[in-house]
């Protein structure tokens, strides 16, 4: 693992950039644990201060330090994304591997259900969930809902890998040796499925973070918990653009774009590393 990381850093420029970018953003987010003020405190600082030596990224109209708000916000947004990713991976792996391993009717039924879920528009359903839950909506509930909607593409991918493992020699040996289905799936097949899980996790993380930004920008999440989207939401509420408080909106946008860029570069380079076909073409290049 460590060796792979070192090789990727050395020979894959996209990976190196993505890694450095993501790592620095992560460290920046980590810093919020040492913030001078609690991140939910408002009107403790002079409002609307432009960037200066004291407040590097300025302060908001709600009297918060943009720099420290962003640090917390990125942390919370990433936490949301990771929660969605982990939960939806569990679903995707369970459905994908079962479908691929069982084959036949089970496979057909599960994949039909899967394709049906793909065809449902996520955002309206999420909005409906938010609407009916309203004040009882918390970020873990939102994350669980998003995870329920975000596993189907990847279940398909995982299924196709498992399907190809089904008829391999070692599977037959395992069946013959009397291993149970869960045992076979976890001990024999999971190692082969791991790269796919890892790659889809990167893409899913990007999707989940995008979702969080989108929902909280609209105010459809816990608006008192700082998030990237939430910062933009509050800036809009205070008409920051018209009032000329540009730093309130510009810095969160820059942060989120950098975060997406970093994650995306990681995702494509990891994909290239994992995908045997692009591996071949690179060997020839």
């Amino acid at each position: 693992m460590f060796k792979i990381l070192r090789d990727m850093l050395r020979y894959n420029i996209e990976f190196a950039i993505g890694f450095v970018l993501t790592l620095s953003i992560f460290l920046f987010a980590l810093a919020h644990f040492w913030a001078p003020l609690p991140d939910t405190a408002i009107y403790l600082l002079p409002p609307d201060m432009p960037p200066s030596a004291q407040y590097w990224f300025g302060t908001t109209s709600r009297g918060q330090d943009v720099l420290w708000q962003m640090s917390s916000a990125i942390w919370n947004t990433m936490l949301f994304g990771l929660t969605v990713t982990v939960l939806s991976r569990l679903l995707a792996v369970a459905v994908g591997m079962l479908s691929g391993y069982l084959g036949g009717r089970w496979d057909q039924a599960l994949m039909t259900l899967n394709d049906t879920m793909i065809a449902l528009p996520n955002i309206p359903i999420l909005l409906l969930v938010y609407f009916v839950m309203r004040d009882s909506m918390s970020w873990p509930v939102l994350a669980a809902t998003a995870a329920l909607l975000g596993w189907n593409y990847d279940a398909r991918l995982i299924r196709s890998v498992t399907l190809s493992l089904r008829n391999r020699e070692f599977t037959r040996h395992a069946v013959f040796a009397g291993m149970s289905v869960p045992q076979i799936l976890v001990r024999q097949h999971l190692p082969y499925v791991m790269p796919v899980i890892f790659f889809t996790a990167m893409n899913n993380l990007i999707w989940a973070i995008g979702l969080e930004v989108t929902l909280s920008v609209l105010g459809f999440s816990d608006i008192n918990r700082p998030t990237i989207g939430g910062m933009i939401y509050w800036a809009n509420q205070h008409q920051a653009i018209i009032a000329g408080i540009w730093w309130w909106i510009a810095f969160p946008i820059i942060a989120v774009v950098l975060l997406f860029l970093g994650l995306f570069l990681l995702a494509i380079s990891v994909n290239e590393y994992i995908d045997p076909r692009s591996r071949l073409s690179r060997m020839g290049a």
Partner: protein
């Protein structure tokens, strides 16, 4: 005739391969790998000759024939040597003159690649393939071209209606025939075929073999083809060359090679053929096929050779004329065949 020493004739040669080396050269995350799939091969093919290349899977047959056809893509690269054709006095050096090579394709030489059942575009009708490949070489009007193609198909035993089909509507045998038709419609002087019958069932295989032989005789073309199936060689090849681990280890007229193999590996290939009324248990060759990224020293066959001596481990035997053919073995001719 068997015991007369014959110098290979060069007067009517159509293809001359000299000292050819083609390697897969890969560089992946800083790790370099080199697979020596074609390693110093020289051979000559005459006018009107059918030359078969035999050898076990992964011995480099396809790599050799691709290199001869000028059909290599990275990571396969020609490292040394040359491939030269002689079309009615016009010499064509495959790797020196890409422009002339391009012009000669389908006109003078055509190539049937391995797995050729899949060479037809799945989403276009078959007729478009004939048009794209052959029309510009024929100098005919569209309607005359169509008539010519239909006549050619009929001769090969295909209903001209197949032109209007999509590949998925045709059986494997029909698709194979079609690719052969596609490769021969311009009546090239030289045909290169990689496992043209391997994916077919036995009956269809016989058909296709007869077809290839028939076309060759009618058009007077030369053919070089590859298959690991020795019975196919016995059926149509005039001469065969045996490839082991990227090297040509024996070559000669088909009958002579079958009757008196000089190389122990050839002897093994032939003795493992099923024979009617022979229930003797056949010995499998011990050991694994060599890894071409790190081939054995000396004679590459020595780790598996029943006759190997110290010299075989250290020195690479040259391919030298012997009897009616050539062989690369320090102990050539010492092998006993049943």
């Amino acid at each position: 005739m068997l015991d007369t020493l014959q110098a290979p004739t060069t007067t009517s040669s159509m293809l001359r391969v000299e000292g050819l080396k083609a390697y897969y050269q890969m560089n992946y995350f800083g790790v370099r790998r080199e697979v020596r799939a074609v390693d110093d091969v020289s051979l000559t093919i005459n006018r009107n000759e059918i030359y078969g290349i035999a050898g076990e899977s992964s011995s480099g047959k396809s790599s050799l024939i691709k290199t001869i056809a000028g059909a290599i893509t990275p990571p396969l690269r020609v490292v040394e040597g040359s491939v030269k054709f002689d079309f009615a006095g016009r010499e064509l050096d495959v790797y020196a003159d890409p422009q002339a090579m391009k012009a000669a394709r389908w006109q003078n030489l055509s190539y049937i690649m391995q797995g050729s059942m899949n060479v037809l575009n799945p989403v276009r009708r078959v007729k478009h393939a004939f048009h794209d490949f052959a029309f510009k070489h024929m100098g005919l009007s569209p309607s005359a071209f169509r008539a010519r193609v239909e006549k050619h198909l009929q001769r090969i035993g295909l209903d001209p209606h197949v032109l209007e089909s999509f590949p998925h509507q045709l059986s494997g045998g029909m698709r194979q025939r079609l690719t052969i038709a596609l490769a021969t419609v311009c009546e090239p002087d030289f045909i290169i075929a990689d496992e043209p019958t391997t994916a077919l069932d036995v009956l269809v295989q016989q058909d296709v073999l007869a077809l290839i032989k028939d076309i060759q005789q009618r058009m007077g073309a030369s053919i070089i083809f590859v298959t690991h199936d020795m019975t196919v060689h016995a059926a149509i090849a005039d001469r065969i060359g045996i490839v082991y681990a990227g090297r040509l280890v024996e070559e000669g007229p088909t009958l002579d090679v079958f009757r008196r193999p000089q190389h122990p590996y050839t002897a093994h290939l032939i003795s493992s053929l099923p024979r009617i009324g022979d229930n003797k248990k056949r010995s499998a060759l011990p050991g694994k096929p060599p890894n071409l990224a790190d081939p054995p020293s000396g004679c590459r066959f020595h780790p598996r050779c029943p006759l190997a001596v110290d010299k075989c481990t250290n020195e690479n035997p040259p391919l030298e004329a012997r009897l009616t053919g050539r062989v690369a073995c320090w102990r050539a001719g010492e092998v006993q065949t049943a």
